[in-house]
């Protein structure tokens, strides 16, 4: 099937998508956006977190057909290379990255949290990011990253 979708601000026409494919698979295999990770395909780990029309979703639980005409933002759309988003930079600087497999999804989820609450307390961060599993870090540095990003995003630019 053909899917028309805006991904990271660019309108895309994706051909040859299998009718039962997930948004995750379409992003990774058809659009080459492999930053969005597949670690469980059950909506348990959050590694595939993306924005769909501004809402945080697990892209493994969204059918590709459901995104027709809609807008998707992935980790690649937040920032890259020398132009990282403050959330990405904070993850980098606080040591929140070890194996990094959870990182893209965690970054998108943390970004979404700070969009809705610019000054979350510790338990709010822990609760809001509890849908994103990390096996390496023990989460402490990730808490630091969210706090650092929140502080920087409040500074006048």
């Amino acid at each position: 099937m053909r899917v028309q979708v805006t991904v990271n601000g660019v309108e895309q026409v994706v051909d040859g998508v299998w009718e039962l494919d997930s948004l995750l698979n379409m992003l990774r295999e058809h659009l080459g956006l492999r930053g969005t990770k597949n670690a469980c395909e059950q909506g348990e780990c959050g590694s595939c977190s993306v924005y769909l029309d501004g809402s945080l979703v697990c892209s493994c639980l969204v059918a590709a057909a459901q995104v027709e005409g809609r807008s998707v933002v992935t980790v690649e759309g937040l920032g890259s290379g020398d132009e990282l988003h403050p959330v990405q930079r904070a993850f980098l600087e606080t040591g929140s990255v070890q194996c990094g497999f959870c990182t893209p999804g965690m970054v998108v989820a943390a970004h979404a949290l700070l969009q809705s609450d610019g000054n979350p307390d510790e338990l709010t961060v822990r609760e809001e990011l509890s849908g994103n599993l990390c096996r390496c870090t023990g989460y402490t540095k990730i808490l630091d990253a969210v706090n650092l990003a929140a502080a920087r995003m409040k500074e006048p630019s």
Partner: protein
Amino acid sequence: MTTTLPSRTAPPTQQADGVGSSTLRPDGIPKVDGSFIYSSDEYHEGALWGVTLRSPHPRARIASIDTTTAEGIDGVAAVLTHLDVPGSKTYGMIISDQPVLAFDEVRYQGEPVAVVAASNPEVARRASNLIQVEYEELAPQTDPEVSIAGKAEGFPDGGLVRHVKIRHGDVEAGRRAADVVIDESFEIGTQDPAFLGPESGLAVPVGDGGVELYVSSQHLHHDQPQIAASLDLPLDKVRLVLSGVGGAFGGKEDLNVHIHACLLALRTGRPVRMVYNREESFFGHVHRHPATARVELGATRDGKLVFSKVRLVLDGGAYASQSPRVIGNGSFFAGGAYDVANVWIDGYATYTNNPPCGAMRGFGLVQSIYAIESAIDRLARELGMDPLELRMKNALSEGDVLPTGQAIDGPAPLQELLTYVKDLPLPDASNPASVDPRARPGGLGNTTRGEGMKRGVGYALGMKAIGFSGGADDTSTARVTMWIRDGEPVAEVYCAAAELGQGIVAVETQIARTELGVSQVFLPDKDTDIADPGATSASRQTWMTAGSVVAACELVRAELLDRAAALIDEPAAELVLRGPNICDATSGRTLIDVAEVLGETTISHEYTYHHRKTYPIDEETGQGDAHPAFAYAVHRAVVDVDTELGLVRVVEMASAQDVGKAINPVAVEGQMEGGSVQGLGLAIMEELDISDGRIRNPSFTDYLIPTMLDVPPIKLKVFEFPHPDSAYGLNGVGELPNLSSTPAILNALRDATGLDLPRAPVRPVDLIL
């Protein structure tokens, strides 16, 4: 073999982002912006997809396999069974006992039987389901005691993999000297490494009949000969390149997709991608051995330990994997980090039809430290003594002799570690009703406002040997090259040390900066074109690879100074390297630029580092100087328990660890925090539910690992007592945090409830008063 010690520990310059700084990881930006390539991201135009057909039975005889229907499906390029394995039909890390594809009998649920390559994964999966395998089911043998008795059918030696005996001192004399004796049994369930990045890889056939494999691995050079033997290819026709590893924790030491992807690629002449999904991953890697341990401890009335006797049983499941070494390690330290004159340990590793178990962070010691640390608390209760005081009274110190007869050399600052957690203020015991429900047992379920809630505090102490032991010639090889790029001296560190997430890539850059005064350090692909770096396991990789990188840098620097000396006609011994300059050692005055010395040339040196010689233990007594080094950590845990519902909230964890030298302090903290939380998982939630040889919960829905909300604040204290044998005095770090975290939480739960709680993980039903 020569023992090589770094010639000095003082770096030539305090280079920015060098050793001791929390420099950013060189793979950090690609990991936060999503461009980092993991093995499951590997892509090749025209690649086929490989999938694995696995046994649904824990034990069955294979009567026949018929692949004709599967082969007839449109898009299927190959369907392979054991008949298509050209070389060794089996592989294994120590004992080659695991079939590449099952040929006579399947011995665990999920054992690979056939592999399929097709144009897309759905076609491959559909075809694999059309392979007709006729099984004759057999009763699974799942009781390790039957294997210890040598009565397990279908396994070598009746099912006993290894019996380790440690005989030290006179346990009966110790028993007579004891005023108080305890005799307790403990049990620990099966933990899964549960790394997020699944087993995966890309195999590409190359023109000369060989194959290149891009794969996640803890040790490419140990994978390579196993793969080559099964492919019936010489080693140089099997080239491995490390792809991005999404965590491993021991679960990527054994082969997974490796041979299968190569077989399919060589058969079809096309690149083949394989990626396990989460359910398959639970069957596709080894787990932590489930264990039982009977511990007898005796002490005098004043709390001096006079004997310990431990019987430790680790069930290794269907194939040997690392079981012979895991039970060795578990047994050597089954007496814990204590100075005890009389010790008797029997450790058994078994074959059964349970899922295969092998390496997992802690390597046998998570089980034995859990048992001994639980027993120490029980003994303290019998003695009427504070459990921390009992530990302080008996903890090892430098010069003490281990149950294996080896005297501890190197720092053993256990008193300092224990004193830190002793003096650390406890978290407020606020009125539970005023605490945010998310910080109470039951969380947002809002199941208690303090009714039935009890708080407990627990401690545990762990130790572990660092590096490969028992006479192994443990090595790491690195090549360091220096040249001038855009007018600046730069360096490359080429070493195949596997980066799993722990940060060896940062360590490699930091050492080159410190030793060579450069800012920019390049890291080429990690592959099998250079000699063996050893496994990223056994908390050894930073120790070993720092050894090889420092020494290679020293050779580069020595040649650089020699060349400079010749150019300016000064003795090389009078020269020092200071950043981009070569200076007079006494005055510090710049004599010549590195750029001028090097010009268009490069300096490149390779070095193979060996840790000091070790010796095998005596098979009958367990005595021998088997270990190159030791490391230590302690944990304190504070818990709240809702004793009406059996729900737990870990309120705080604290840990102190001696790391010798923190090469990258933030990375060290990350290891301590991450390991502590894996230990928390094992204490209160993580267990593969296995019955009759079948895993009942192979998903993240049913196998729970800690979320961010399950994790409390973690307080850390990093001690740096330099180790005399390593570069910069560093010590191994990675596994220590897993050892004492689980028993500290269990001891806190016991303190809160007064219950014995012999089994980890603790379930709600265990905690209801």
